[in-house]
């Protein structure tokens, strides 16, 4: 009988496949050994520059705390800006809608660096010519409490830097809030209104709780990006982590020490942002499941 079936030697193919899998497993185990050696090598590299770390670590840690504090304050202000923007985008009045649209489009279309420069060197300069200086205001406000020495000289830069960051992220959060609110099915608010609940209570008790499920996951991502963008405040002279790291690194003459300090600063940023990104991924998977 003629065989029209393809003759495949199943056993030989199976054995060859098992051999390839074994080679792959051995190669992977070899890699993990090399990885452990590389991590040990990196720890040795950090350890060999211990003198440098001992000199600067406490200042870098203080600056990192300042960075996180700055970012937290900016995030809170950005939420306020974003909420106002979202309410403006969804307003009944066309001029308010167009103003909010202008805000979102202009702020999202220009670099954050230009916006920070505009806030400090543009708005700050103009306002200080008109007599308003955040440093003197804070200094005079704290004088009765006899705490005015804690106001740093660069306080104006802090002030306008935080406002600039919040203004920028407020535009992005406007879109997040708006999509969240619009994503709640219109039938919900229609049913609520037809049941006699007035429109403000509908928003507060029906729409917003459901909108929050869509809006929370991007938040941690924006907070991580905000911490990274707070490094831009170093351009305004604010002594946060990036500025402190740079000011320690520039005077160093030995290029290896200089490179090490930059790597160490980047490592601190990574140590702040990586756990937050793991948290963000957890939130995304947690909120992807409906109630």
């Amino acid at each position: 009988m003629e065989q029209t079936m393809l003759e495949i030697d199943v056993d030989a193919a199976h054995r060859a496949h098992q051999q390839r899998m074994m080679i792959l497993r051995v190669a992977n185990i070899l890699f993990y050994l090399v990885l452990v050696a590389a991590v040990a090598g990196f720890i040795y590299y950090v350890y060999s520059n211990l003198a440098l770390i001992n000199t600067y670590f406490i200042y870098l840690l203080q600056a990192a705390g300042l960075t996180i504090g700055l970012s937290a304050v900016s995030m809170i202000l950005a939420v306020i800006f974003g909420f106002l923007g979202a309410m403006g985008r969804l307003s009944r009045f066309a001029p308010v809608r167009y103003l909010a649209l202008l805000y979102v489009e202009v702020v999202r279309g220009t670099p954050i660096l230009v916006q920070l420069l505009l806030w400090y060197y543009g708005v700050g300069y103009t306002l200080s010519n008109l007599g308003f200086d955040p440093y003197t205001v804070a200094f005079n406000a704290l004088t009765p409490l006899q705490e005015n020495s804690i106001v740093p000289l660069a306080f104006s830069a802090f002030f306008y830097g935080v406002i600039g960051l919040s203004f920028n992220y407020g535009a992005y959060l406007t879109e997040v809030f708006r999509t969240g609110i619009e994503s709640v099915d219109r039938g919900q608010s229609e049913a609520a209104l037809s049941l006699g609940i007035n429109s403000r209570q509908t928003m507060r008790k029906i729409v917003l709780p459901q909108a929050i499920r869509i809006t929370i996951p991007p938040f941690t991502n924006y907070f991580i990006t905000l911490i990274q963008d707070s490094a831009l405040l170093s351009v305004l002279g604010v002594t946060e982590l990036e500025q402190t790291m740079g000011s320690f690194a520039y005077p160093l003459i030995d290029p290896n020490q200089k490179l090490f300090l930059f790597i160490f600063g980047a490592l601190i940023y990574f140590a702040i942002c990586y756990p937050l990104s793991l948290l963000a991924r957890y939130f995304e998977s947690r909120f992807a499941r409906a109630y």
């Binding site: 279309g109 230009v114 420069l117 990036e242 290029p255 290896n256 490179l259």
Partner: protein, 221 residues
């Protein structure tokens, strides 16, 4: 106002430099990102883990830290070996923009590959194509149209992030703005308005094109 009109040619040159930075860095970022994405999906740990580490580190550190590290840190080390010719704002800026954005593009590629139905790969493999052929001929052509809107969005982000080279003395629109604000201190607000308008001219048409493309793509699906 007259000052803004007088300085318009310099601002336009700065905007041209912005576009040059982005047009050179973005294709590099796409290529490196594709390589990273393919490495990340590999079964071989030698490719997968370094790619994962690279993507996490690039996304977890600010771009200004990375550019300082490359321009000043690596620059000092290069000067030690008499290779300073490679350490200028152009090479550092393009290298950092490309490497930083390649991490984000790798994530977009990965999402694109995952969005093609698994059934397509299964059918291709059961028809006798090996995994490389099924990737090149089945998965990739279907994934590319889905990935174009995120790529255009990332290009717009890069147009704005290219402002970062102004802190390492690169000649970009932001640095032109800086120079003239410093020189003409008392009439600075119109210069800021001019820079903002130029950035909007660069980014708004691109985002409009992206949104039209996205709408047509969603209608086609």
């Amino acid at each position: 106002m007259n000052l803004a009109i007088q300085l318009l040619p310099q601002f336009l040159l700065g905007a041209l430099n912005t576009v040059i930075y982005c047009v050179v860095s973005f294709p590099l970022a796409l290529l490196i990102g594709l390589l990273l994405a393919v490495m990340r999906g590999s079964r071989i740990a030698w490719f997968r883990t370094p790619s994962k580490i690279f993507i996490e580190v690039m996304r977890g550190t600010p771009i200004i830290t990375q550019i300082f590290l490359v321009y000043y840190g690596l620059g000092a080390v290069l000067a030690n070996y008499n290779l300073s010719v490679y350490d200028n704002a152009w090479t550092a800026g393009i290298a950092v923009l490309a490497l930083n954005y390649s991490a984000y593009e790798a994530e977009v590629f990965r999402a694109g590959f995952l969005s093609v139905e698994a059934g397509q790969t299964e059918a291709a493999l059961s028809l006798g194509l090996n995994s490389g052929q099924s990737f090149r001929r089945i998965v990739l052509p279907q994934a590319i149209p889905l990935m174009i809107p995120p790529f255009v969005n990332d290009f717009i982000y890069m147009l704005k992030d290219s402002a970062i080279v102004s802190v390492i003395s690169g000649t970009e629109l932001t640095s032109v703005l800086d120079i003239y604000v410093f020189r003409f201190g008392s009439e600075r607000l119109p210069l800021y308005v001019l820079a903002i308008v130029l950035y909007l001219i660069l980014s708004l048409p691109t985002s409009y094109v992206a949104r039209t493309f996205e709408r047509r793509l969603r209608a086609a699906l």
